[in-house]
Structures are given as structure tokens and as C-alpha cells.
Amino acid sequence: MADTKAAAVMPTPTRKKLPPKTIVAYSILAAVLVLVPVLVQSATGWEFIVRIFVIVGIWVLLALGLNIVVGYAGLLDLGYIAFYAMGGYAGVIIGQAVSHWTGGATYFLMLIPAALAGALTGVALGFPVLRLRGDYLAIVTLGFGEIVRICLNNNLFGLSNGASGLPYGNQVMALPFGAQWLQDNIRFQTPLGFFQFGPNMYWYVIVVMLVLGAIFVIRRLDDSRLGRAWVAMRENEVAAEACGINIRTQKLWAFSLGALSGGIAGVTFAYVQQFISPESFTFMESVFVVCIIVIGGMGSIKGVIAGALLIKGVPDLIQGLAVAGVLKMPAEMQSLMSNYRFLVFGLLMVVMMAVRPQGIIPSSRRARELLPEDGRILAEEDMQEWDVENRANTEPDDV
């Protein structure tokens, strides 16, 4: 897959225009990603695997957004789930009001208010708090996350229907167009078995698109002026400021872009689940996202995806397989597993910080920051500098 290292170090002019190679690569990736659950489902008949992929995908989206804030800009946000909630609620409240006219397009149209709700909340919170030091910022964002959740729960302004969630009673959320038709008409025989288009498959395709879109944007951002400013800021705020980078603006950009991604993830989550309630936005969920990034690798797109698969996907998959009767596990064992996972995550966070702070699949830049003494990384760095000086642009610039 992608190799960001070379691109990260040098602003390559070829990046300005989108090379057809990139488009092809993204398309192939999308096709493969869509094909995998089709094959898995037809081989096993388990639609739940697709749902797990959908949920994992939403978490990838969330984690990619937070990754901008934590991984690139170096701001620890412990209340990130608030943006997810804002996006979800904005999408549902506005969507329910207009769905009479918009029908099957509701979800797609609601992406805009959800993204706006996320981003605007991000700016509104970011404006006063971003001048705080890292750890203070972490606690303030934590407080903000709780404020949002409690206000939703207490039905502030009478919009959120409190703890019962939305939609209420016989209201239904409009299915996006095509979903029903595809379910009714798409069924075919594959070499592995029979495939029937389930309700989750539709969302899976959408989530894959969103994730690929986010990856594309983030990779472009990473190489842009803004991305380089973030890195400079993360490495040394004072030096960056001295170089003419407006710290406040850069932080605000990172914060609101991350929040925007959270908002989109939120509305998608709400429409996938066809229901939204404050209990999905607790502090633990925020910790989950941070966990994904830390364990996967801060600032690394591949790391974040691996983290989401590991932390959200694997436990759900194990539980699903146990319920499906494939993994023969006594109920006691199952509950042990699902309980011990938090214990293990906690321990992993501690161990990771001590042993491998750069994460499972590290971003090379971030690794250098966290482990400056690591000889291997220094060697790699030297190599890259040599690359830049001596054979600029010979590294294949693939995706």
C-alpha cells in the first residue's frame, strides 16, 4: 500500500495533480474492500460479519478524525466523542424534520449539516481552549464531552428527547434510496456460496467510500502547507511560531477538521443504527478512540486502521463467532473474554507507551519524535535525507 515517508519529507511537485495511477489504486482498493465481505458472507452465510465491518469502518472514520488532532497536531482530545454526538444528533434532528421532502436522499443530504455541526462545535470549543497546554486541554475536552452528553441526556432545549433517544415512537428514519431495492433484487450464486444483499452491505459500501475519501484528504493534507505546519507545531510550538506559523489558526484547523470527520461518522452511525441515544457517547467511547490511535500508531493512517480492527473488530468478531456457534466457547468464557478486553487494553496502553510508543504500525515521523534514540529510526532518517539529497523523487510514488 502507501508509503508516505518519502512524500512526507519532500514536497513533491508531482502531487499537485491527481495522477491517474492514484485514482486506479484507490478504485482497486475500494473494489477489494467491497469484495471481501461479499465473499465472506457468501462462504459462511453470516451477515453479521458485514455489520461488524460497518461498525469498524465508522470507528476508522472516527479514529482518522481524531488522528488529525492527536497524531498530526499533537493535541490530546479526550472528549472527541462529543463531535460524533453532535454530528449524529444534528443529522437525525434535521433529517427527521425534512425527510418528508427529501425521502431517500435524507442521509446523503444530512452529511452536510452533520459535518457542519461537528466542525462548528470544534471551532466553538477550540477557540477558547486551544491556548491551553496539552494535558489541560485533555481534561477540558473531557469535561466538554461530558457536558454534551449530560445535556443530551437531560433533553436540553427539548430537541434530543433525553435518554430515550431519537427517533421516538412510530417515527422512522428514511432508508437511503436504493437500499430496499438492492435487498430485494441482488442475490446471486458465487463460487463460495449464495450471496444475498443484506441491509448492512449498503452501509458497508458507503462507509468504505467515506473512509477512502478521508484517507485521500488526510494524505493530501499531510503533504500540504497545513500538514507541515502541524508537524512543526507538534515538534516544537515555540520554534514553529518563530518561523511564522500562526499556532492558534493551525490548531483550530486541526481541531475543526477532526471534528468534521467525527460529525460525518456520527450521522452515518445514526442512520446505520436507525436510532441514536446519549448512551452511545460516554467517556469510555472517547477513550476507545484514543486507544485505537495510541495502539495503532499516532499519525499513521495504516496504524489507525489496524488499531480499529484490533480494538473494535476482533472482540465483536469473537463474540459474533461464539454466538454463531463456531467458536465453541462456554458462556463463562465469553463473558470473561469480553470483560478482560478492557483490562488488556488498559495494560496495552501502558506497555505500548513504555515499549513502543509509536504504535503497531507507526508513522515514521511520529516514531522519530517519540523515540529519538532509536538507532534504527535514526538510520532510516539518514537514509531518507540521503534520498532527498541524492536521488530525489526516485522512490515510487504509489498509494
Partner: protein
């Protein structure tokens, strides 16, 4: 190419290999499990409940109640003659809607699964019932009390317990008319269950002519009610209604009485648990009230049988609030399976037509269960609207109040 890069690719290859192994491994054992059932037709009932997080004590009780019904059914000659084996599968919804959605999809992916006994939390049902509806799976809940669940237009949804709109007002009527309480303070725990119940109770209490002096929200994780107690004390009331679960309810009761507010605390079936008395202490809990759906199990015609069978099957466990309802809910599904197997043939039960027939059969359910007559109205609500008020007696146990 550097060391780091080589390692990275190796890691990716290893990851892919692991995924492949998992997938192929699953496929293999999956087919063998399907072929394992010989002779009898295997029909599965899903049991969805919080088992590792949320109200675990209630969830585990639900599993025990439902499994008892399934074991009894499998032992019965009727089921044997039809060539059916009823299996159960547990899904841990953790009391969380998203996890509940996963569990529901897992249940829906199981080709032999025709019905779900479950979901304790109304929020979980909101997500899960739509998934069951698409898969033509019947859901019978022993415990959902949110009023609007049966108004969602889901034809596959039924519940054997009365909803908040029955339980809340019944409690309020008792408090005002029988108990003689005139001025109440209403508190909820900000969960859908607690808010719904507290709202309904308050409405009826005011309609009866009582005064609601105050309405406050707390959180289901709160342990500090001191400031609230002072507020309640200043309101000068003679009863406190708490919409919520026993954990925080017990602490509120305790702190009320320690704070000198010596009035009974009343709540719904969420308080009706032995754990409530343990947490508050028997001396403090004495006189507290809880409503629960149906009549006391021990007084029901089939109650003693149920208690005896339960004690025989689970000697070390106490009967929790929803165990008898879970037993009845599972039986409603089992009876529907049996009737469909009789009319369509055992091998047709797990087909789409069979599942639809089961939903129709559950809608026509009518039998004497442990909790009373089990039958449903057009929306899927139980017709058994009996509510019993319990109080904590001097012996430190819940006992039905004498009317």
C-alpha cells in the same frame, strides 16, 4: 529498502495470513456444526440480555428463566414426537444499543434461529427489533417497559410485561388511594427506563389529586444524593418516587433516611430485587415500596411448580425480577414453534414461511403462564395488566402488601 520496511511488510503478510486462517477455520467448523444435528430438527431461540455489563444480575436471571423453559420443552413428549430439538443461544447485548444491534444481526444470521427471548433494555430493543423484523424473527421481551415500543409498527414484537403506562399509574394509584400519601417528590435516574416510569407515575399521582412537589434527574451512576436529600427534606413530602434501578435507588433510600427524611421510597420493578435490600440495609429499606408486573409468583397457580423447578435447576441462584417473565416469554415462543411444527411440519419451522407463521402464532398466544395469562393485544402488549405492590417487610425481604 530498509529493515523497518521489510518488517512492516512481513507484519502485513502475517496479519493477512491470520485473517485467512480465522476465516477458513470458521468455515470448516461451521459446516461440521450444521451437519452435527442428526435425526431431530434443530430450532434455536436466541436469548438477548446484558451478561457482562449493565444490569448483569437481571440479565443472567433472564437467561436462567428462558433456559428452564427450553429444557422443560425438550423433555416434553410433545416436542420429542415432533422431532424437534430446541436449542438456545445467548447474546450479550451489554445493555448497549450498538452491541444489541450486533447481537441482533448475529441472531438473524443464524439459519435455525426463529425467535428471540429478550432484551432487557428498551434502548437495545429499539435497534434490535428492526433487524429481527427484516429477518422475520419474533421477539418476545420479558422486561421492556418503554410505552412506545409497541407503537413502532413492528409486527414481530411482543412483551409479556406491562409497560410504564400501566406500571407507573398503578403505583401512583396505590400510593395515593391505598397508601394515603398526598405529597410526592419524583426522581429519575436519566435512563430511558427511569424517566419513562417516573413521568407516568407523576402524571397519575397528580391526576389522582396528589401534589408533586418536585421533579429531579440524577444519574444511574450517582452515589451522592446528599444535596438532593436536603432539597427533598425542604419540600416536606410524604413519599419519594424513584424511577430507576436498585443500585442507586438503594443509596437514595439510605441517604434519605440518614438525612432525616423518614418517608418510604417507592419505585418500579427496577427496585424489586433482593440486592436493593442488601445495599440499603434491611432496617433502612423497611417500608420502601416497589411495583412489579403481574401477581406474586408464589401465589400463582403455576408459581410453586416454577419455584421448585427453578431451585432444582439452579440451586445456588435466587430468582431475580424477570426470571418468571423470561420463562413465560420463552414458552410463548416454544408454543408457537410447536404449533407451527404441527401444522406445517417440523422441517418447515426455520423457513421464511415458518418464521412468519411463528409470528402469527405468537400473536394468538393464550396460555396460563407463571406470571398469569399470557396473551397479547393487537400492538403486542400483554393483556395481563396486573400490578403488585411489594414492600420491604421486617424480615428484610420483599413481600406483597396486603390490600
Amino acid at each position: 529498502m530498509t529493515m523497518g520496511k521489510a518488517r512492516k511488510y512481513m507484519a502485513i503478510v502475517a496479519l493477512l495470513a491470520a485473517v485467512a486462517l480465522v476465516v477458513t477455520g470458521c468455515g470448516g467448523s461451521g459446516s461440521s456444526a450444521g451437519g452435527g444435528a442428526t435425526g431431530a430438527v434443530k430450532v434455536t431461540i436466541g436469548i438477548g440480555a446484558p451478561l457482562t455489563d449493565g444490569a448483569v444480575a437481571l440479565g443472567k436471571g433472564m437467561v436462567r428463566g428462558a433456559n428452564l423453559a427450553i429444557t422443560q420443552a425438550n423433555a416434553s413428549q410433545e416436542v420429542k414426537d415432533l422431532g424437534l430439538t430446541i436449542a438456545s443461544v445467548e447474546g450479550d447485548d451489554k445493555g448497549d444499543p450498538t452491541t444489541g444491534g450486533n447481537v441482533a444481526t448475529q441472531f438473524a444470521s443464524n439459519p435455525t434461529l426463529v425467535g428471540v427471548m429478550g432484551h432487557l433494555n428498551s434502548g437495545v430493543t429499539r435497534v434490535a427489533v428492526k433487524i429481527y423484523n427484516q429477518a422475520n424473527i419474533v421477539q418476545v421481551s420479558p422486561a421492556n417497559t418503554a410505552v412506545d415500543l409497541t407503537q413502532m409498527g413492528m409486527t414481530n414484537y411482543f412483551r409479556v410485561c406491562a409497560n410504564d403506562a400501566v406500571q407507573g399509574p398503578a403505583g401512583a394509584d396505590y400510593a395515593f388511594k391505598t397508601g394515603g400519601f398526598k405529597k410526592a417528590f419524583v426522581v429519575d435516574d436519566s435512563t430511558p427506563y427511569g424517566v419513562g416510569l417516573a413521568d407516568e407515575w407523576g402524571k397519575q399521582f397528580a391526576a389522582d389529586g396528589g401534589a408533586v412537589a418536585g421533579r429531579e434527574k440524577t444519574s444511574d451512576k450517582d452515589t451522592d444524593f446528599k444535596s438532593l436529600v436536603t432539597k427533598i427534606k425542604a419540600a416536606g413530602i410524604d413519599i419519594v418516587y424513584y424511577g430507576g434501578i436498585y443500585n442507586s435507588g438503594a443509596l437514595l433510600s439510605k441517604q434519605l433516611k440518614e438525612g432525616g427524611v423518614n418517608v418510604p421510597l417507592m419505585g418500579g420493578d427496577g427496585l424489586f430485587d433482593p440486592e436493593y435490600i442488601k445495599l440499603a440495609g434491611a432496617a433502612i429499606a423497611k417500608g420502601d415500596l416497589a411495583t412489579s408486573v403481574g401477581l406474586p409468583t408464589a401465589q400463582m397457580p403455576k408459581g410453586q411448580d416454577f419455584i421448585a423447578a427453578y431451585k432444582a435447576a439452579y440451586p445456588s441462584d435466587e430468582i431475580a425480577a424477570y426470571d418468571a417473565y423470561s420463562f413465560d416469554a420463552a414458552n410463548a415462543i416454544i408454543k408457537a414453534i410447536v404449533s407451527v411444527a404441527k401444522s406445517m411440519g417440523a422441517d418447515k419451522v426455520t423457513t421464511t414461511e415458518g418464521k412468519k407463521a411463528i409470528i402469527a402464532a405468537v400473536a394468538k398466544t393464550n396460555f396460563e403462564g407463571v406470571s398469569g395469562t399470557v396473551s397479547f393485544d393487537a400492538h403486542g402488549d400483554t393483556t395481563n395488566k396486573a400490578i403488585t405492590v411489594y414492600t420491604v417487610g421486617a424480615d428484610g425481604a420483599w413481600a406483597p402488601v396486603s390490600k
